[in-house]
Structures are given as structure tokens and as C-alpha cells.
């Protein structure tokens, strides 16, 4: 190098050292690392472990599902095809049902999850009296001049069949309290907000009416209905029966058949069900757990057999590509 290059050297020497990357295990990509390897032991352990965890869970789920008693009764056909009539159904209890017995109504082909339907509500007006004039998003069940509370399609199409139960001519009370989510009652539906202009002319009468003297937070049927279902077939809680039903009890249900499912050909079912720790009667979960557990054990078995038939010593260099395909190729 020519001597002339020497002059900036001294000034650059400090710069030089500052350019030197600082050593750290991070920057040199040498951080201590856990490098797990799928050894046969690990593989078999994992599969066996899944097996022995899932099968008991599956059995527990199944037994929980079996504890649940459920009676469902389709009534739209028997009570129809007109609405606004009363009809009576008799249900025989097959097994003892301990209270609380939950009463559900079930609809199908009802698209509560349709985008147009889901959006057709206004949470503001439901919550605060001061925002009672809010009608945004409620189209076409909205009226700016005479604001509707609750507005929107969901509220407007409120389910309005009613059931009256009696066993041996003794009326059974249906408890309609606490069927909605607590947070909905406490926070979403105002205790000072009262229904206004609801089901009055605009676009015709849809579903149920509301008691204008009760605040929304106590209109639990509405609150339940407003939690839109994920699927077109859905159940919603109607109420609770707080007495036990004995075997062979015949429950007489007086149904006020108001709700129009005939137009779109949907069914209406009345469901009585108990619950377990898991919720309703859900056999699928237990079966799925059992199946998966069994498959895991089976795979574990397969691997054991394979490892016995065709063992590969771990880290055996004979399996390196250059030893397996000498003369090139991977």
C-alpha cells in the first residue's frame, strides 16, 4: 500500500474498532438452546401419553353425557299450519329428571347468523336511555321520527311462542329468571331503558311484543334472543323447571303457537333437558376423545412394531445420504 494511505489511518483506527461487531452470544447466534430430538422413546411416549390421557377424559365425557336426560318434541306440524293458536302436547318422561330442568325452544333454517340480520341492532340505545334515539344499523326496523327501542331485525323477530307445563293437572312453574348471560343483563341492556314504539306498524308486526313497563334488562327472553346463534339450527333457553320429573310422568304442554316458521318451512321443537358439568347431552365429545386416544395408542403400537422390525440406531452415520447413495445425489 502506498504510504499516502497511512495518514488517515490513525484517525480511522478508532473508527475501525468501533466497526467491529460486539461479541454476544445473541449476535453470534450461539444462545444456549434446547434442541429436542424425536427419538423413538419420545415418539412412543407422546402417543401413549395422549392415549392414556384422552381415553379417561373421553369416558368421563361420555358418562357425563349419559347422565343428561333430554326430551325433545317437535310441535310446529301438530300445531300448525296456522299461527296464533293454542295446542296441547303430551310428553312422557322416560327417565327421572332432576331439577333444574331447562326448557329450550329449537328452531331450524332460521338464519340468525345472516350478516344482514346480525348487524341489524344498535347496542347504544339498548344500554343508555340518553341514546334512545339511536337507530343506526337498524334498517329497516328503524324510525328516526319515532325512535324504536329496541330497533333492528333481531329484536323485531323476537320468538314469541309460550309454553305452559302441567303434570297430573298440576301446573308447573317455569322460572324465566337468570336464563340470559349475567353480563348482558348487567351491562348491555339498560335497567332504565324501556321498550318504545316496538312492534308498532313499521314494516308490519314481526315476532313477540315486549312489556313496555319492564326495563330491557329484565326482558330476559329478548336478551337471550339477541345473542344470535352461530348456526341456522339453534336452541335457546326458555326457562327452567325447578321440580323433578319422575319416570312416566306425562307432562302436558300448552303451547301458544305464535311464531311463524311455516313461511320458510322451519321446524319448532320444545326441548326439556338437564345438564351435567359438561353442559348438555353431548356424546360426540366423548366419542371423539375415545377415538383419538385409541388412534394414538394404535400409532404408538405401530411405531413400536416398526422400531422392532426396522430399527435405526440413532445417529448411525450409515443413514447419511453420502453413505446411502454413494456417488452423488442426496
Amino acid at each position: 500500500m502506498p504510504a499516502s494511505e497511512g495518514s488517515p489511518d490513525s484517525s480511522s483506527s478508532s473508527r475501525k474498532s468501533s466497526k467491529k461487531p460486539k461479541y454476544s452470544r445473541f449476535s453470534q447466534q450461539e444462545l444456549p438452546a434446547y434442541k429436542p430430538i424425536l427419538t423413538p422413546q419420545w415418539v412412543i411416549t407422546v402417543f401413549v401419553f395422549i392415549g392414556i390421557v384422552f381415553i379417561p377424559v373421553g369416558l368421563a365425557s361420555l358418562s357425563a353425557a349419559n347422565q343428561v336426560e333430554e326430551i325433545s318434541e317437535r310441535y310446529d306440524d301438530k300445531c300448525g299450519p296456522q299461527t296464533n293458536n293454542t295446542c296441547e302436547r303430551k310428553i312422557t318422561v322416560k327417565k327421572k329428571m332432576k331439577n333444574p330442568i331447562y326448557v329450550y325452544y329449537q328452531l331450524d333454517k332460521f338464519y340468525q347468523n345472516h350478516r344482514r340480520y346480525v348487524k341489524s341492532r344498535n347496542d347504544l340505545q339498548l344500554r343508555q336511555t340518553s341514546r334512545g334515539r339511536e337507530q343506526a344499523g337498524c334498517d329497516p326496523i328503524s324510525n328516526t321520527a319515532n325512535p324504536i327501542v329496541p330497533c333492528g331485525l333481531i329484536a323485531w323477530s323476537l320468538f314469541n311462542d309460550t309454553y305452559k307445563f302441567s303434570v297430573k293437572d298440576k301446573d308447573i312453574n317455569v322460572d324465566k329468571k337468570d336464563i340470559a348471560w349475567k353480563s348482558d343483563k348487567d351491562y348491555k341492556f339498560g335497567s332504565q331503558v324501556y321498550p318504545k314504539n316496538f312492534q308498532k306498524g313499521e314494516g308490519g308486526i314481526g315476532g313477540g311484543k315486549l312489556n313496555e313497563s319492564l326495563p330491557l334488562s329484565e326482558q330476559e327472553d329478548l336478551i337471550v334472543w339477541m345473542r344470535t346463534a352461530a348456526l341456522p339450527t339453534f336452541r335457546k333457553l326458555y326457562g327452567k323447571i325447578t321440580v323433578d320429573l319422575e319416570v312416566n310422568d306425562v307432562v302436558t304442554v300448552k303451547i301458544q303457537n305464535n311464531y311463524n316458521t311455516y313461511k320458510y318451512g322451519g321446524q319448532k321443537l320444545l326441548v326439556l333437558s338437564t345438564t351435567s358439568w359438561m353442559g348438555g347431552k353431548n356424546h360426540f365429545l366423548g366419542r371423539a376423545y375415545l377415538t383419538l386416544g385409541a388412534i394414538s395408542l394404535f400409532i404408538a403400537g405401530c411405531f413400536i412394531v416398526l422400531y422392532i422390525i426396522k430399527p435405526r440406531p440413532l445417529g448411525d452415520p450409515a443413514y447419511l445420504s453420502w453413505n446411502r447413495y454413494p456417488g452423488g445425489g442426496i
Partner: protein, 1224 residues
């Protein structure tokens, strides 16, 4: 500087017979150029820059800029760049449409991620451009001495220099612009220019000013100087220039010898004056540079294809959705009394087709989650971090120059892991361009004990290989070799190797003296006089000291002389002569003075050699001679030249040492040294004067055949020589080059050398860095100069084609599996090859050859060859170089690597990666490339997996909502999915994943082949991952739907609503994809653990916090976790079930794959895991050596070949001993 003055007085032209002195006559031959018409419009008013301040003579300033943007253009241009990506355009449209009622999501959830992603990318662009700007400014602010007025020169930054300025450039400075040479410190106005940055040639070029401007040789003379240059317009042609200089109404023609080009450097000349002709972007070198193309890696291109696949899928399911929607709307919606038709067209049964069309847009937005918006930005983040790691790597930090490696663009990190062919420049890249005198053979005796780097490295490698590997061979070696040693004591390369192996542990002294690395006490310190043939030794050293064109310069500090030589070889000879006691100390017009230190006398004797003639070196003659008269009046011709040339010209009685010398020359060649043979003859006075007369006549003759006449006459003199010996000079390779080439070859990379150097030099370097070896069959393709000048193009082409076909035939017919071919082609020939369809034949031949060397190639040709390889083979090419002449190829190649730390920055500025030393290339490719490739490949696969797994659940849900476009998830979940909840783990995969540690990467070069073979990003793998995504989406959706179908999920009897189902489903997705990535990773530092499991935890934290917000914000998700889901066992059980079901097949596949079809890195991981490498060192070493690709180049191959040869001989010897009659 008294010394400089003396030198300056020297008329250099007298030293030259051929090159330098021809030009003056040229002006007599043809008058001023006729410059008319387009292309010759430029006028330069010398010394009157002010006249160039207004049109039409206002030319561009000397400011150069390589930036992509400026402040004004940044926004539009950078935005345009961003929206060149299809996916971004899609998201932009989606964001715009999200403001209309068709949107399924809130506008914020569409616009925010897009703004984030685009903003981040643009910020990165801005940062990168800013760095480029800083680099430009460094060049622009260099200072140059410019004539102000009245003979006063002052320093100005380069960017302020204007056309017409007179500039004074001093020794070792770069020319700031293209200059017209006016005068120099030499009386006859010549100067020496190093054009390494332009064409990579290291020998100095002579430039010569016009005679009319010669008097302008000091500052004062520019007071009143004025002149006008009319010349050609700016053009990229480096070797032409046409123009006239008008001074005092007198026209003088100009040609390229008067032009000093920007980026070349003034050497061996104290100063020159020049007028600026072309500035900044107009200068030839800038005209030559092409805008650096924005490069994209193949993986990214392939990724685009995947995105198209996903787009197709997106459109497909959108069409399915909208058809379904239209049908539902038309036939069923009228029955849905609870949903009366609206007056707009979105849900109008009467206009179902229109509604369907609107819905198509909705669906296209809704399913947009199939296209990972954060993919680009995640990749960008990952690449920037990977680049940071490259920059930070201490193993690629050069202590000497203080430069770390630098990833200048982060776009190509993964491409580094897939390189197939490396195209390398030679000078400055492979070699330091510094010669060391290493060995010599005088009078048939080899002197010089130091081993060349190649020998040392080869010996080390061989010793290492032999020890554990070939026991059989090792056992044979000592006993048999002893026999050899007894039999023939003085040569045989095997024994040489043996010796080096033995001496491998001896400390290798670093050369204390630059250019001299010679060790041999037999001739050092005057001991030569005690050797046999002392008189030959004496002559030999005299030739070294006398036969050259260098100038001595006294180094006042040390009292010894430094030499300004035209080529570094010559410098090395002079240093060697000085060390031997023959110090060249003075040169005058007619004499050369040498201080000879004879052992007999203490004081050195200064001897004068009268220089009678100098027959200089041309690449055609390949020799140089001086005719001198010594103090006794005896006339000698001293000659040095290529061995083949010299051997042809020996006298009958001059061949005494020919046999031994030839043998030594072969050894030297094999050891990668540059060799020259030295010879002399005595000339009788009468013979000389007769010859000289003829020579003088030829020299002064005018006409075209003057040169050939001179050549012929020189030729007459240079014969009947007496051979003295040969020299071996090591063209010092950059540190670690042979090892690096060896390693790269073992990793399966092909290496081509493209150099501007002469063929011989290139071949020598080929030997030095083991790209060539003895016994390799060389296919030289070259058209002779006569042919090029005399024959028509067609004939030349045909001739070349024939050479190529012959070469191919030769390769085809070769039976020996170990035979290796080397292809050597020269630039002129290459230009013919490249412009025709011959290039494919050429490429086919080149691919069959183990090494390819292209010499005398212009920068443009380098780029063309690179393109040929890139496009012809379809493989990934990497070009590495250090000078401006490499810019073309660096830009053309898929990856350009610049060598930083040397002077010119052009290569670095054009490059994608800059490293300080060639040897860092190994780590850059084999470690970082390998890692980055796998990281990015896995990362992209995983990205598509997770977005398919997520996006398709949206689609399935549509089927249950009457295709209405409702999503089961909250908008916020979706927003966070890509941006936060799943992005950090995948980034950690892309940044930190290591299949094996860096040491293992280096030890097992075969692992690198996973990249070029693209094992981790082929369609099989991509579709596998997509299939996995499809499977996961099905599992996640349907298990959840079935479980939450109609039954109560809480003990309180409530059934699940959409929010509960959606949230549970989303929880399952978060678990499934994060477990999936944990299964994908094989390297967990705390960071990975933190990010993967942290993401899952973040989801719950988010859900909790989101639930705590006002119900107006969180809607149905209000308190969903604490009130509904967390207390419900069903939620947790479902999560576990879905996660397990999603990942079990992949886990089984992974286990099976690893157990029964392990890949190389699996096995190595296991070996490391069980520490087998420490227990069984022999196995480990054996596997390491097997992991190398079978190579035909590199010194391992050379050692292998030697061993084969050796074994062959042993066998023969064995034969011979059993049948004693046959000769050995």
C-alpha cells in the same frame, strides 16, 4: 524530494521500443478528426468552466448518485414499489372497499394492517436509500485540486468540479472525472495509470499528452491557457475516444491515450494536469454502470406463485360463496319474513344477480385471510434481522481492514443458500496483486525452501485426510517412500509433499520483506559463491537486477531502495536481487547501476551497465530482453520470458540445464507459482553493431509495419540463448483463498474465474488456487490474433465452433472417471461466442468442465457470461469481485458480492453483500446461506399453512350462514391473528432456527446441497403444508361446530351463541398453529419459547382485556372469557381435543420421516445429541471427509489426484519388482 525531480527529468519514452513511442507520429499520418454530425456535439472550453454555466454548454455536474429515490420522488416511487406486489394491491382495494357497505369487516381492521405493513416496508426502503446516499456523498466530497484563476490551485470537492476545469492530480489519487491529459511530471508528458477499477488489469497503462500541451507543466502556466475540445458525446465505450483540441486556431487530434478516466488512479507519476471533459454521470465509467436492478430471490418468486395459487383459491371460493348467496337470496330470502329485502341492492331477491355480484366483492375481502398480509412484512423483518446477524458475525470481520461483512440488501439472504455457480473476479478477489519471490531454479538446482500457500494448505489437508481415513495407504506410504528417497533424492512431487507434511508444524515465517519470501541459506548472504556453478548464479542475479523497466526510489527511512515497477512481478525480482546482494540503485537515460555485494569484498561495488537496447514485453512476445554493455565492455543480451518461448530459442550449448529446469518449472506450476525462465547470451561487438543499425532503422521508420519489423528484428537477436534457470513468484493469494475454494467446491459449488488478465496469468492463478492442476486436460479456446485481424467473421466463428466441438468431443470420449477438464477461453473469442447461438454449445462444454477460466474479458463480457450462466443453466449464480470492472457481473448475477476494504467502492456499492475477504464467502454461503434458506423456506410454508387453516374456517362458516358474508370471529380477533398472535413465533422461526450449528455446517459441506436442490421449498413440500392447513381448518371448524351444535355448553343451561363458538374456535386455532410451529422448530432458545408460548398466553390476556372493555367496543365478546368460557370445562376440553387432532398427523409424519427416512441434518443432530462425535472421533472425521462432494478442483482434489498417481506408481513399481526386466 530530490529523487522525484531526477525521475521526472527522465524521458521514459526512451525505454520503450514498441508501445510508448508510436503515437507522436500518428498525427502526421492522419490530420485532425472530422467531427461532424450527431454524436460529436460536445465542446469543452478548457480552463473556462464559467462558459459551461449556461446552455448550450451546460453539462451535468460531477455529482454522482446511486440512490433510488430523492425527497420528492420517494413517496410516489416507494408507494409504487410497494403496490407492485399483487397482494398489496389486493389489500389496498380491500381497504378501499371496506369503506363501503359491502365490507364484512370494519374499515379499521382492513386499513390498519395495510398501513402498518406498507409503512414498515417503506421505512426500510428509506433507510437503505439513505445509506446509499451517505456512500455517494463520501465519493462526492472527495477533494481534488482545481485551477481557480491566475495559476492558483485550490481543493474542491469532486461534486463541484465542472467541465472545463483544469485539475491537478497527484500520485496515487483517483481522477475525479474523465480528463484530457495536458502534461505530467515527466518531461515527455507521459503518466502511468492503474485501471484496475475499470477493467481489472493490474499492469500500468501509459498515457501520453499531446506535444503542444507539454509546456503546461506547472501551476503558473495555466494563467492564460485556453483551448477548445470538440469531441464525441458521452458514451460507455472505455477504449475509444474521438476528439480534437484547438489551441491557437490550430487543431490537434485526440485519441484514447490522452484520456484519463474517472476511477482510475495515477501511479508512478508525481502529478498530472488535465482538463475535465466528462463529468459525473457523463463519465465513461458511470456510463458503463447500469442501474442496479432490484433483485428478488427465487424463493420469493416462487412464493408469488403460491400467492397466485391462493388467489385462485380465493376467487374460487368467493365465486362459490356468491353463487350460493345469489341462489339463497333469490329462492329462500323471500320466505325469510324476519329479514325483509332492503331497498338497496345488497340483499334484493328481485335482483339476485346484482346482489350476488356485490357479495362477490364481500367474499373476496372476507376470504382475504387466505392471503397472508403480514407475510411480506414478516419476511422483511426476518430478513433485516438475518442481515443484522450477517453484519454482526465476528467470523466474517476482517481485523486487518476493520471491516465487517455487510448485507447491503436483505432481499437475497435465502438465495445465498441456493447458489450453484460462483463467478469470481481474480485480482483483488482471489489474489492480493502482490508478488512474492519464492523459489528459483538455477543451473539445474532448485533453491528456495519456503512452501507456497497452496503447498502448505494442501499438505495440511492431506495429512488430515490421510490419518484417519486411508489406513491401508498410510501403512504403505512410509516404507515404500523410503525406497523412493533412496533411489532418487532430488525431485518427485510426492516426496516434496512428504517433506511438507513433515514440516507442517514448523512455524511458517511471515515474509518480513514485501515481495520476498525466499529462504535458502545456500544462496543467501553471499553463500551463492560457494555453490557449484557460481558464475551461473551470478549471471542469474544480474539478470534479475538489470532486465526490467523499473525505477528505484530511495526510501529515506530505511536507506534501501523501493522499486516502482510496471508489474508486481518485476518488483519482486528486484527485491529478490537486492536481497541476494545485487541492489539496483540508479537508472539514467542510458545506464543501469547495480550495487553488487560480493562475498570477497566487504563493500558493495557499484557497477554500471550501459543500456544499449530494451526489447520490451508484449503479451505476444511473452519475453523481455535488454542488451547491455558491462564495465568490461562485453555486450550481453539478458532475457526473461515464458518458459516455452525461451526454451525454443536456446542455443545448442545452452541446453545444459534444460531437463532439470523443466522439471522444476512443472513443480512450480503445480505449486501454483508464476514462472519465468531466464537466459542470456554474449554478443560480439560486430554482430551487435550490425544488428543495431537495422534495429535503429526499423525504429525510426514510418508506416504500419514498423511494429512487425521491430518484432522481427528483435526476434533475430533473441536466439541462441543460454538457459540459466527459472524463477517462481507467488502471486500472493488472499488469505484463505485455496481453502475456501476447496470448501466451496466440496459444497458442490462450481467456480468460474473471469479476469481481465492475460491468459498466462489467469492460468497461473488457476494453478495457485487449485482450480487447475497438473494432469487436468486443458481445453483452450482462443482465436489467434492473425486470424482475428485477417479472416472474415464467418471463418473465425467457424474456427471457434470447431474448437468448441472438439472440446466437447474430447470430454465425451474421456473414459477415465477421474479425468478433469479445464476450459480456458479468452475475451476476444468469447465476444464471438457470446453474440451467436454458439453460446449454448459453449455453455454445455463449460458445464462439463471442472473449472472454467475466462481471461481478458471486459466488464461487459463478464456481465454477459454471468447472464449466460444464469439463463442457460437456470441455476443461481453468485458473482464476486472488488473493482468497478466487476460491477456489471455483480449486478447481473443473482447475487452480487463485493469485496470491501480495498480502494474502489464501486463493486461494493453495486453489490448485495460486501465482505472483506474472499474466504468469508464460505461462511456467508455455507452457514448463513444455509440457515437463511431453511429459515425462510420453513417460514413461508408455515405462513401459508396458518393462513389456510384460519381462512378456510371462514369459508366453511359461510355455508351455514346462507353465504351472507358473516364471519364467526370478532373483527379484532382477525385483525390480531396475523399482526400479533401468530406473527412473532414465525418471525422467531425465521430468525433463530438452526438445524445444525455453524460448526457442523462448515464441517459437512454436503448439507449445503439441500439448498441448491431446493429440498425445503419444492412444490411437494408446499402442497404438503397447504394440505396440512386444509386438514387443520376442517378439524378446527367441524369439531367445534359439532360440539357446540345445539347443546348447552354451560352448567347454567345456556347454549353457545356465535361469539362463544367463534371464540372457542379461535382459541383452537391459536393453539393449533402455535403447537405446529413448535413442532416445526428444532432449536429452542428462550426467545422461541417466549414467543411461541407467549403468543398463546397473549391471546388469553387479550381476550380477558378485550372482555373488560365497554360492551360497546367488545360487543358480544364482552366478558366472554371470565363469564362464559373459562368456567365451562367444555371450552378447555374442546381446545385440547382440537389441538391434538390438528397436530397429531403432522407429528406422526414427522416421527415416521425421521425414524425411517432421516435426512442428513437429522442424523447429524442425533450424532450431536448423543455426543457420538466426541466418543467416536474416527467416525466423525470419516463422515466429515465423506460429506464433501467429489470434486475435481480444489487442493483436496489435487491431493487425491496425487495420491492416485502415487498409488498407480506404487503398483507399477510393485510390478516392476516382480518382473525385474521392465524399466520403472
Amino acid at each position: 524530494m530530490a529523487n522525484g525531480k531526477i525521475r521526472a527529468k527522465l524521458k521514459r519514452s526512451s525505454l520503450y521500443t514498441f508501445g510508448g513511442c508510436i503515437t507522436p507520429q500518428a498525427e502526421d499520418a492522419d490530420g485532425p478528426h472530422q467531427l461532424q454530425g450527431p454524436g460529436y456535439s460536445r465542446a469543452v472550453f478548457c480552463n473556462q468552466p464559467q462558459r459551461h454555466q449556461k446552455k448550450p454548454y451546460k453539462y451535468v455536474s460531477n455529482y454522482i448518485s446511486t440512490t433510488k429515490y430523492n425527497i420528492i420522488t420517494f413517496l410516489p416511487k416507494a408507494l409504487f414499489e410497494q403496490f407492485r406486489r399483487v397482494a398489496n394491491v389486493y389489500f389496498l382495494l380491500a381497504a378501499i372497499l371496506s369503506l363501503t357497505p359491502v365490507t364484512p369487516f370494519s374499515a379499521v381492521s382492513m386499513i390498519a394492517p395495510l398501513a402498518f405493513v406498507v409503512g414498515l416496508s417503506m421505512a426500510k426502503e428509506a433507510l437503505e436509500d439513505w445509506r446509499r446516499f451517505i456512500q455517494d456523498m463520501k465519493v462526492n466530497l472527495r477533494k481534488a485540486s482545481v485551477h481557480k484563476a491566475d495559476g492558483v490551485f485550490a481543493y474542491k470537492p469532486w461534486m463541484k468540479i465542472q467541465v472545463g476545469d483544469v485539475v491537478k492530480v497527484e500520485k496515487d489519487q483517483f481522477f475525479p472525472a474523465d480528463l484530457l491529459l495536458l502534461s505530467s511530471s515527466y518531461e515527455d508528458g507521459i503518466c502511468y495509470v492503474e485501471t484496475m477499477n475499470l477493467d481489472g488489469e493490474t499492469n500500468l497503462k501509459v498515457k501520453r499528452s499531446l506535444e503542444v500541451t507539454l509546456p503546461l507543466d506547472d501551476d503558473d502556466s495555466f494563467k492564460n491557457f485556453a483551448g477548445t475540445v470538440t469531441c464525441e458525446d458521452p458514451n460507455p465505450n472505455l477504449y475509444t475516444f474521438v476528439g480534437n483540441l484547438e489551441i491557437d486556431r490550430q487543431l490537434y487530434p485526440l485519441d484514447p491515450t490522452q484520456i484519463l478516466l474517472r476511477d482510475s488512479k495515477l501511479r508512478n507519476t508525481t502529478y498530472v494536469y488535465g482538463v475535465v471533459i466528462f463529468t459525473g454521470p457523463d463519465s465513461k465509467v458511470m456510463q458503463n454502470s447500469t442501474r442496479s436492478p432490484s433483485k428478488r430471490s427465487r424463493i420469493e418468486k416462487q412464493m408469488d406463485k403460491i400467492i397466485y395459487v391462493l388467489f385462485t383459491l380465493l376467487v374460487l371460493i368467493s365465486i362459490i360463496s356468491s353463487v350460493g348467496f345469489a341462489v339463497k337470496t333469490q329462492y329462500q330470502m323471500p320466505d325469510w319474513w324476519y329479514m325483509p329485502p332492503d331497498d338497496k341492492n345488497l340483499y334484493n331477491p328481485d335482483k339476485a344477480n346484482l346482489s350476488g355480484f356485490y357479495h362477490l366483492i364481500t367474499a373476496l375481502i372476507l376470504y382475504g385471510y387466505l392471503i397472508p398480509i403480514s407475510l411480506y412484512v414478516s419476511i422483511e423483518v426476518v430478513k433485516v434481522l438475518q442481515a443484522k446477524f450477517i453484519n454482526q458475525d465476528l467470523h466474517m470481520y476482517d481485523e486487518d481492514s476493520g471491516t465487517p461483512a455487510q448485507a447491503r440488501t436483505s432481499n437475497l439472504n435465502e438465495e445465498l443458500g441456493q447458489v450453484d455457480t460462483i463467478l469470481s473476479d481474480k485480482t483483488g478477489t482471489l489474489t492480493c496483486n502482490q508478488m512474492d519471490f519464492l523459489k528459483c531454479s538455477i543451473a539445474g538446482t532448485a533453491y528456495g525452501l519456503s512452501a507456497s500457500e497452496v503447498e502448505l494448505a494442501a499438505a495440511k489437508q492431506m495429512a488430515m485426510d490421510l490419518d484417519p481415513q486411508d489406513h491401508d495407504f498410510e501403512r504403505n506410504l512410509p516404507s515404500n517412500n523410503a525406497g523412493f528417497n533412496n533411489g532418487r533424492s532430488n525431485h518427485s512431487s510426492e516426496i516434496e509433499l512428504e517433506r511438507i507434511i513433515r514440516s507442517k508444524d514448523e512455524n511458517h515465517h511471515k515474509p518480513v520483506i514485501k515481495g520476498f519470501n525466499f529462504e535458502d541459506s545456500r544462496i543467501m548472504n553471499g553463500n551463492w559463491s560457494r555453490e557449484p556453478h557460481a558464475e551461473v548464479l551470478l549471471l542469474f542475479m544480474r539478470i534479475l537486477a538489470v532486465c526490467h523497466t523499473a525505477i528505484p526510489e530511495l526510501n529515506e527511512a530505511t536507506g534501501s531502495f523501493n522499486y516502482e515497477a510496471e508489474s508486481p512481478d518485476e518488483g519482486a525480482f528486484l527485491v529478490a536481487a537486492r536481497e541476494f546482494g545485487f541492489e539496483f540503485c540508479k537508472r539514467t537515460q542510458s545506464s543501469i547501476f547495480v550495487r553488487e555485494r560480493h562475498p570477497s569484498s566487504k563493500e558493495p561495488v557499484e557497477r554500471e551497465f550501459k543500456l544499449l537496447n530494451l526489447l520490451d514485453f508484449t503479451s505476444k512476445r511473452k519475453r523481455m530482453s535488454v542488451i547491455v554493455r558491462d564495465e568490461d565492455g562485453q555486450i550481453f543480451l539478458f532475457c526473461k520470458g515464458a518458459d516455452s518461448i525461451i526454451f525454443d530459442r536456446l542455443a545448442k550449448n545452452g541446453r545444459m540445464f534444460e531437463g532439470a529446469t523443466t522439471r522444476h518449472l512443472n513443480e512450480y506450476g503445480e505449486a501454483g507459482l508464476r514462472t519465468l525462465a531466464l537466459a542470456y547470451k554474449k554478443i560480439e561487438e560486430a554482430d551487435y553493431s550490425a544488428w543495431n543499425e537495422e534495429f535503429l532503422r526499423a525504429k525510426t521508420s514510418i508506416g504500419g509495419d514498423r511494429e512487425s519489423m521491430l518484432e522481427r528484428i528483435s526476434d533475430m537477436m533473441e536466439k541462441d540463448l543460454i538457459l540459466l534457470g527459472a524463477t517462481a513468484v507467488e502471486d500472493k493469494l488472499q488469505k484463505g483463498v485455496p481453502q475456501c475454494i476447496d470448501k466451496l467446491a466440496q459444497a458442490g459449488l462450481k467456480i468460474w474465474v473471469l479476469t481481465g488478465d492475460k491468459m498466462e496469468t489467469a492460468i497461473n492463478i488457476g494453478f495457485a488456487c487449485s482450480l487447475l492442476r497438473h494432469g487436468m486436460k486443458q481445453i483452450c479456446i482462443a482465436a489467434s490474433a492473425e486470424m482475428l485481424s485477417q479472416e472474415t467473421k464467418e471463418v473465425v466463428k467457424e474456427n471457434i465452433l470447431m474448437q468448441i466441438t472438439n472440446g466437447s468431443q474430447m470430454v465425451k470420449l474421456e473414459k477415465d472417471p477421474h479425468a478433469a477438464f479445464a476450459l480456458i477461453i479468452d475475451g476476444k473469442t468469447l465476444s464471438y461466442v457470446l453474440e451467436t447461438d454458439m453460446k449454448h454449445q459453449f455453455l454445455n462444454l463449460a458445464v462439463d468442465c471442472a473449472s472454467v477460466i475466462c481471461c481478458r474479458v471486459s466488464p461487459k463480457q463478464k456481465a454477459l457470461v454471468t447472464r449466460l450462466v444464469k439463463e442457460g443453466t437456470g441455476k443461481i449464480t453468485l458473482a464476486i469481485g472488488d473493482g468497478a470492472n466487476d460491477v456489471g457481473m455483480i449486478q447481473e448475477a443473482d447475487i452480487g458480492v463485493g469485496i470491501s476494504g480495498v480502494e474502489g467502492m464501486q463493486a461494493v456499492m453495486a453489490s448485495d453483500f460486501a465482505i472483506a475477504q474472499f474466504r468469508f464467502l464460505e461462511r456467508l454461503l455455507v452457514v448463513h446461506g444455509h440457515w437463511c434458506y431453511k429459515r425462510i423456506a420453513q417460514m413461508i410454508c408455515y405462513f401459508f399453512y396458518k393462513n389456510i387453516a384460519f381462512g378456510l374456517t371462514l369459508f366453511y362458516f359461510e355455508a351455514f350462514t346462507g353465504f351472507s358474508g358473516q364471519s364467526v370471529y370478532d373483527d379484532w380477533y382477525m385483525l390480531l391473528f396475523n399482526v400479533i398472535l401468530t406473527s412473532l413465533p414465525v418471525i422467531s422461526l425465521g430468525v433463530f432456527e438452526q438445524d445444525v450449528s455453524s460448526e457442523v455446517c462448515l464441517q459437512f459441506p454436503a448439507l449445503y446441497q439441500q439448498g441448491p436442490k431446493n429440498l425445503f421449498f419444492d412444490w411437494y413440500r408446499i402442497f404438503g403444508w397447504m394440505g396440512n392447513g386444509l386438514y387443520s381448518s376442517l378439524v378446527i371448524f367441524f369439531l367445534n361446530i359439532i360440539i357446540f351444535y345445539d347443546q348447552a355448553f354451560r352448567k347454567g343451561g345456556q347454549t353457545a351463541d356465535m361469539a362463544a363458538v367463534g371464540t372457542t374456535m379461535f382459541t383452537c386455532i391459536i393453539w393449533a398453529v402455535n403447537c405446529q410451529i413448535a413442532l416445526t422448530m428444532s432449536h429452542f432458545t428462550w426467545i422461541q419459547h417466549f414467543l411461541v408460548w407467549g403468543s398463546v398466553v397473549t391471546w388469553y390476556i387479550f381476550l380477558f382485556l378485550y372482555g373488560m372493555l365497554s360492551p360497546l367496543v367488545s360487543g358480544n365478546a364482552f366478558r366472554i372469557l371470565i363469564e362464559a368460557l373459562a368456567p365451562a370445562p367444555l371450552y378447555w376440553i374442546t381446545t385440547l381435543l382440537v389441538t391434538a387432532t390438528c397436530n397429531l398427523p403432522y407429528f406422526a409424519h414427522l416421527s415416521f420421516q425421521r425414524a425411517f427416512h432421516p435426512m442428513d441434518h437429522h442424523v447429524i443432530q442425533e450424532i450431536k445429541y448423543y455426543k457420538k462425535d466426541e466418543e467416536d472421533r474416527i467416525m466423525w472425521t470419516r463422515e466429515r471427509s465423506k460429506a464433501r462432494q467429489e470434486t475435481k478442483i480444489g487442493f483436496t482434489a489435487r491431493v487425491d489426484a496425487t495420491i492416485r498417481q502415487f498409488k498407480g506408481r506404487l503398483q507399477k513399481k510393485h510390478h516392476a519388482s516382480s518382473s525385474p526386466m521392465s524399466p520403472v
